[in-house]
Amino acid sequence: MWPIFDYGRFVSIISSSDVYGVVWMRSLAQLHKMANLRVLVGVKRVIDYAVKIRVKPDNSGVVTDGVKHSMNPFCEIAMEEAVRLKEKKLAKEIIAVSCGPAQAQETIRTALAMGADRGIHVEVTGKEYENMTPLHVSKIMAKLAQDQEANLVILGKQSIDGDNNQTGQMTAALLDWPQATFASEVTKENDHLKVVREIDGGLETVKVTLPAVITADLRLNEPRYATLPNIMKAKKKKIAKHKAADFGVDLTPTLEVVGVEDPPVRQAGQKVESTEELVAKLKDSGVV
């Protein structure tokens, strides 16, 4: 058997025509260049979507102790997209990142079980974590993207606890990279990405050059289950631990949460017999 360490040369030896050889070599070279994406995926540990949220009695936040947590659904979609890129041989490495307390490692483990190659845990605990905002996270992500030499950052469009929808955009701005947010379809074309975005008016298709930041929307894909054999295999994958200071990021709060309240209890409606009665009732309640 011919050794296949240099596929291009192997082909050029057996091809009869020189031109053929050159065409083969060029497309093979492109194939080689295509599997060159190093993808950074951000995954956040949030309260599970199915849990009924309760506000703390002192209105300072929501109850998180003893409550079931899991990976943010949009982060799952982001992770799934990265794994699909790897399966299509467009990505060569996937790094899963999470900023949070020790339990965030569980979320990274789930990402590893879905197909990430390694994980990075930026440990942020206690009050610092409660006051962390997308600005802090995006500074960390930007620094990481540069340190890890990533050329694609995929994030969920927003987290279901913060609902900020800012991290992706801020990260792109800090890196001075193009961004394609609310992605519902991502295709790689040569050296750029064609992304279909879901916007209020419908669908918008954009082309972004690499490196770039993408944020995933709901219809981008259907995330796979982390199978049990993969969960066991993920134990061997490495998670590197860091602190925010390692990236030169200052976690001093820029926002202060003044209060958290339940939405007002929906009041019963009232039936009226005529327009006059309606106007009278509206006048009484001070609306008109």
Partner: protein, 649 residues
Amino acid sequence: MLSTGKLRPTLGLVRRPWCASAAGIHSSGRRLHNPDEVDLFDFRYTTPFVKNLFVGKFIREQVFPFPRLNQQDYDQLQQMVDPVERFFKDDVDSAQIDTDAKIPAETLQGLKDLGLFGMQVPLEYGGLGLSNTEYARLGEITAIDGAIAVTLAAHQAIGLKGIMIAGNAEQKAKYLPKLATGEHVAAFALTEPSSGSDAASIQTRATLSDSGKHFLLNGGKIWISNGGIADVFTVFAKTEVVDSKSGEVKDKVTAFIVERSFGGITSGKPEDKLGIRGSNTCTVHFEDTPVPIENVLGEVGGGFKVAMNILNGGRFSMGSSGAGIVKKLIEQTAEHATTRTQFDRKLMEFPIIQEKFAEMALRAYAMESMAYLTAGIMDRWPGGSPDCSVEAAMVKVYSSESVWSSVSEALQVLGGLGYMKEYPYERYLRDARILMIFEGTNEILRMYIALVGMKFAGDILKEKLKELKRGNIGVILQTVRQRWGSGFGMGPSHGFVSEDRFIGDGFKAHPSLTAGAKLLEENVNNLGTMTETLLARHDKGIVEEQLVLKRVADITINMYAMTAVVSRASKAVVMGLPNYDHEVLMANTFCQKTYNENMQMFHDLGGENTDAAVQKIGKDILKTGNYIAAHPLDRTHDFDNIDVVPPQR
């Protein structure tokens, strides 16, 4: 290891390690857990727990503290629970499976992809290498769909278990990898038309061919789960065995690994069942199926033991599966009870309804405590292979009957709605009925529990009798004290009831459970004396006294349940788990209720009972073949024309 019958355990001044570490990997590839590093002297570990109850011995080190996983294993287990729960919530349509009597191919493939077909297969063969505890935990989730649970159990708990425990290295390497991924499905073929509970009477034959290179298998099996979809069968057949000592030729059961590709195997059409309709159950016929001699599992003639070992090993998980079902039903039914209003009050305010929920919760609590206690004993046993068949049988009997009654009560809470097919209760009820029948009918298992326990007690008591005859003062005093004490309901203390606020050496119940633990202690002493009394009364004839044995089995099952519940509640308090006060209340209440039942049965065993009369009624009816009593309206012919008429006014 069976008890050597020694009364005075040799005080082991040297702690002989049974194996390098009490935790780690067992030789079968199964993981062991022992984060507490329970390091004990030999004599404590001669026999697993329950058999010792029959001689009034409560080996507290085996059941306190309640088994637990270390943090790493626990985290990994929680990680595994999530995707399985989501799969069952989103991708399994139990109602459709029940109507179609078939599990869709995508669902089956999804289960295989998740890795659920090789949960206990060792890692080196491509499985997950889960311990008994972890397997029981995942069983809680798969039980949500009865058909899927049975398909998985038939494949791995019995179908391929034989290869795992009795197979040689070549057989394991050849078959386990494909079975672990689900590429091949396994089935367990033992039952025949004339051999259900009486497994030793099977008639399928395997005759050695002239070349001596393979056996020819002929016969038919019925009610084989996965029979129609399996590629690999564990088949039990009678072979001629020459007794090496006497030269006699006998028929003995041998276990074989049979591939469908060997040829000559036909599966009948799937049976139309009351419940677990999605599980494939059919007859399997073998006609001159050639089985290479390399495929004999274990030894030729050793098949019966292989069958019993396979079946004994998997039973305990019914406790956790059952608890999984009942807990889910409690949640669904509670929603109804808290919203439905009748007589201007919510259903939940009526004591009768409250009692139903309490009953369901207590049974679920006991079931899962017993299951995880048994799994824990097996997983932390130094050396790794204790004979917990009696414990497993107890878990199975208790759980199957508890699930049946709990599902029935849940349906009752919903009343007419529960009876409708729109709601899942009728399906759960139908699926639950099989639990009391398969994997060893509850009647057989009760006899097994009682007889194994009695035999164990009998062996020890024979020794004791010898010592008494020899005039051994120590034994005499001990016996007198036991008898005298138990007469007053006091009896010897077994050291697991905590007298003070501190748990001390950890092998005790927490003080808040003293109420329940004391009742359990009393029952242990009662059982010890009762066993002696029964053996003295019946001696070997006890084998025929099934009604007596049934009570003994029920008492010991209850006692094992009480032990598990007290141990688990202790752990909850000591660890400070959420809602531990509720657990303490449940544990003490459960002990009180079960104690009352036990005392009634002790009373029946000790003195007058209706057994003889009941047996006579049963025999008479069976002799005639139908109901004997005359019809309520029947009368004799009236010769004197005197009708019974009220006096004219």
